[in-house]
């Protein structure tokens, strides 16, 4: 088996804030294979966006510490120089953001913004780069691409803007596209079109995609693998069909149960996951999800309240969940030795409290 395109191991991201240290990402590991799609799912603040911004070094370096490893095709990204990362950005790894209205510059034409990216990485001439930009706009389904290339983003509709954003991200045919909630700001019909477009382009270009979303419907449509994050940690990881059909973590189950279905009776109330996400400044001891979990192991010495669970294999085909219920169910021995090592949770949330 060939090595994955992107291998993230034990990634930890901490922000120094006025209130103390925020563990935005707390030991996350995952792989992205070439040409495949990884869906990262979680609520706001679960660390899914931070993980991706950190990979490209787009976080604010002054107040952030990043530990762990992220290897892209042999290149270590964590701790890489700005110059190295700059050459990767836009060329080998591109990003598409949530709101294309604010993510595109209002001051330059759509064509000029694509030209700029292409010339930065290829050194192409103006004419050649413009031809390439128009070709890409055409490819993402923007009609009259040559004319639209001369227009400013505010003259585009939301869906067209996101298409332009995708054209810009893919102009250098990157190996990896990180799409951070690419359809959240769009209405539902446009959402489906954009997802189809991503799928088509992936098939043509062989691009791997990390799709960050809170929308399980989107994940079900396009993802090959799914990573569910909660409070900065991975709670479930595995092939999309397995995770969505036989979820093992109570949080994933809660998320799936909360999705309303057309086949439901109209008067069925929404079933949200009860409670609110924890503060990352002072996360609950043990499993961060235990205060909201309906299956928490009772008793004073409950592992749910004292030890943070780690991912262990459940069943076959690489499906893993971080839950003491699964760990206690005789699944031990499936995961690697590294994953057996359960970290004792120490109350270190305020360790950096004196940071400015």
């Amino acid at each position: 088996m060939t090595s994955p395109l992107l291998a993230v191991r034990d990634l930890r991201v901490r922000f120094a804030t006025e209130g103390g240290v925020v563990k935005a990402v707390d030991g996350v590991s995952f792989d992205v294979e070439r040409g495949r799609t990884l869906g990262i799912v979680g609520e706001s603040g679960s660390g899914k966006s931070v993980t991706n911004l950190t990979l490209l070094g787009l976080h604010n370096p002054a107040r952030t510490t990043v530990e762990g490893s992220a290897v892209l095709d042999g290149t270590e990204l964590v701790g890489a120089s700005e110059r190295t990362l700059r050459d990767l950005r836009g060329q080998r790894v591109s990003m598409v953001f949530q709101d294309p209205l604010t993510a595109l510059s209002p001051y330059y034409t759509v064509g000029a913004q694509i030209v700029e990216t292409y010339r930065r990485h290829t050194g192409a001439g103006r004419r050649e780069a413009l031809d390439r930009a128009i070709e890409m706009l055409d490819r993402v389904g923007i009609p009259q691409a040559a004319r639209r290339a001369r227009e400013y983003p505010h003259l585009f509709s939301g869906g067209m803007r996101q298409r332009a954003m995708i054209a810009m991200a893919l102009v250098c045919e990157p190996d990896l596209l990180i799409a951070d909630e690419p359809t959240t700001a769009l209405d539902v019909t446009v959402q489906a079109q954009i997802l189809d477009l991503l799928g088509e382009l992936q098939a043509q270009l062989g691009t791997a995609i990390i799709l960050v979303t809170h929308d399980l419907g989107v994940v079900a449509d396009v993802a090959d693998e799914v990573l569910v994050m909660y409070a900065g940690r991975a709670v479930e990881l595995g092939p999309a069909t397995r995770v969505l059909e036989t979820p093992k973590h109570p949080y994933t189950r809660g998320l799936l149960a909360s999705v309303p279905r057309l086949s439901d009776p109209l008067d069925r109330p929404l079933r949200p996951v009860p409670g609110a996400p924890p503060s990352l400044l002072a996360p609950p001891p043990g499993c961060a999800f235990h205060p909201r979990c309906d299956q928490v192991i009772a008793g004073p010495g409950s592992p749910c309240r004292t030890r943070a669970p780690v991912l262990v294999g459940v069943g076959d085909s690489g499906h893993e969940a971080a839950c003491h219920l699964e760990a206690g169910a005789g699944a031990a021995g499936v995961g690697s030795a590294e994953r057996e090592r359960e970290r004792a949770q120490v109350p270190d949330a305020r360790e950096g409290g004196k940071n400015p």
């Binding site: 490209l56 787009l58 002054a62 700059r86 050459d87 990767l88 950005r89 836009g90 060329q91 591109s94 990003m95 953001f97 709101d99 604010t102 993510a103 595109l104 510059s105 209002p106 001051y107 700029e116 990216t117 930065r120 990485h121 400013y152 505010h154 954003m165 810009m168």
Partner: protein
């Protein structure tokens, strides 16, 4: 674009009319009687009446107002002399035509305002940008501390000290004075150098702080993050993308500032004895010189309106979203 300009000019005319009307009627609320001021010590009721008639003060206020407006559009006669349109009347004090005096004084004010603007915009914006890019470093902290001092000193104070040190003691700068540009460009520049620097010092501090704040905002914008995610160099990120968002508030503030400066930098002109609109305004008010006050107010209001139109035009250049 044509419709936009017509709209703006009609709006400007309306503003000027309102400003003029308010000034005119406010003047008559002042306690001083201009006729008595120009009558002198040996004032008899007969001379006073004569002066009143000369100045047109014997008419009712609404009639004076009407005659003034007619004069602006059609010209008017004062005794034997004719004042052709646009007639802003004659000074009560030295009987010079107001329009000629204003046109005579305006170049000094314009020179002062534009020269200082070049310095304070250049220096202020540059320092602000640098401070924003080096946020939190000693450069940021020291320039911001300096600019707080700069923004706090007054021109009277700074001007006098600077003149004493730089001109009288060290002889680094020539004596501050106003020489017309057309006669002696070198002398014009030399004479205005100290007034420019003094005025610019105070203003640059304000612009440095403003630019820093808006540049920090701009650097946090989504589209700037996109540009970084595209792999562009820091130079491209800052100089091509981020500054365009940062410069808009600077342009807004400068538009107001320029209007104020063109209406006369009163303190700077008085401190350095520059014969501009600002000094004229102070003297006119002190002498209850109604035609001159009205003239100064009109020119200041015109400057403000034109500066605003210019700002709108600059907006359109900077930001395609506001283009009409």
């Amino acid at each position: 674009m044509f419709r936009f300009l017509v709209q703006r000019l009609l709006g400007a005319a309306l503003i000027l009319f309102v400003v003029f009307t308010v000034t005119f009627f406010l003047f008559f609320a002042m306690p001083d009687d201009p006729a008595r001021l120009s009558c002198g010590k040996t004032c008899t009721p007969e001379t006073l009446a004569l002066i009143r008639r000369d100045l047109g003060l014997d008419e009712s206020v609404p009639m004076q107002y009407w005659h003034y407006i007619v004069g602006v559009f059609a010209g008017r006669d004062f005794g034997t002399s004719h004042c052709s349109a646009p007639c802003l009347g004659y000074s009560f004090v030295n009987h010079e035509p107001v329009l000629d005096t204003l046109l005579d004084r305006f170049p000094a004010t314009l020179s002062l305002a534009l020269g200082a603007s070049v310095i304070f915009l250049g220096v202020g914006v540059m320092i602000g940008m640098l401070a924003a890019l080096r946020r939190g470093t000693w450069l940021d902290k020291s320039t911001m501390a300096l600019s707080l001092i700069g923004a706090s000193v007054t021109i009277q104070f700074l001007g006098v000290i600077a003149r004493y040190v730089l001109v009288d003691q060290l002889r680094w700068l020539p004596k501050p004075e106003y020489l017309p540009f057309t006669g002696d460009p070198g002398g014009w520049m030399g004479g205005l150098l100290l007034p420019w620097l003094t005025l610019a010092c105070v203003q640059a501090a304000v612009y440095a702080r403003l630019t820093r704040a808006s540049m920090i905002d701009a650097l946090g914008e989504d589209h700037v993050r996109t540009v970084r995610a595209k792999g562009l160099t820091s130079r491209q990120v800052y100089l091509k993308h981020a500054w365009r968002g940062a410069i808009t508030p600077v342009v807004t503030v400068y538009g107001i500032e320029l209007g104020v400066l063109l209406g006369g930098a009163v303190v700077t002109e008085t401190t350095f004895n520059i014969p501009g609109i600002g000094k004229l305004a102070v003297n006119a008010v002190a002498n209850s010189d109604l035609p001159m006050i009205t003239g100064v107010v009109l020119i200041a209001a015109t400057a403000m309106v034109l500066a605003n139109v210019a700002v709108d035009a600059v907006y359109a250049v900077i930001d395609p979203r506001v283009r009409v």
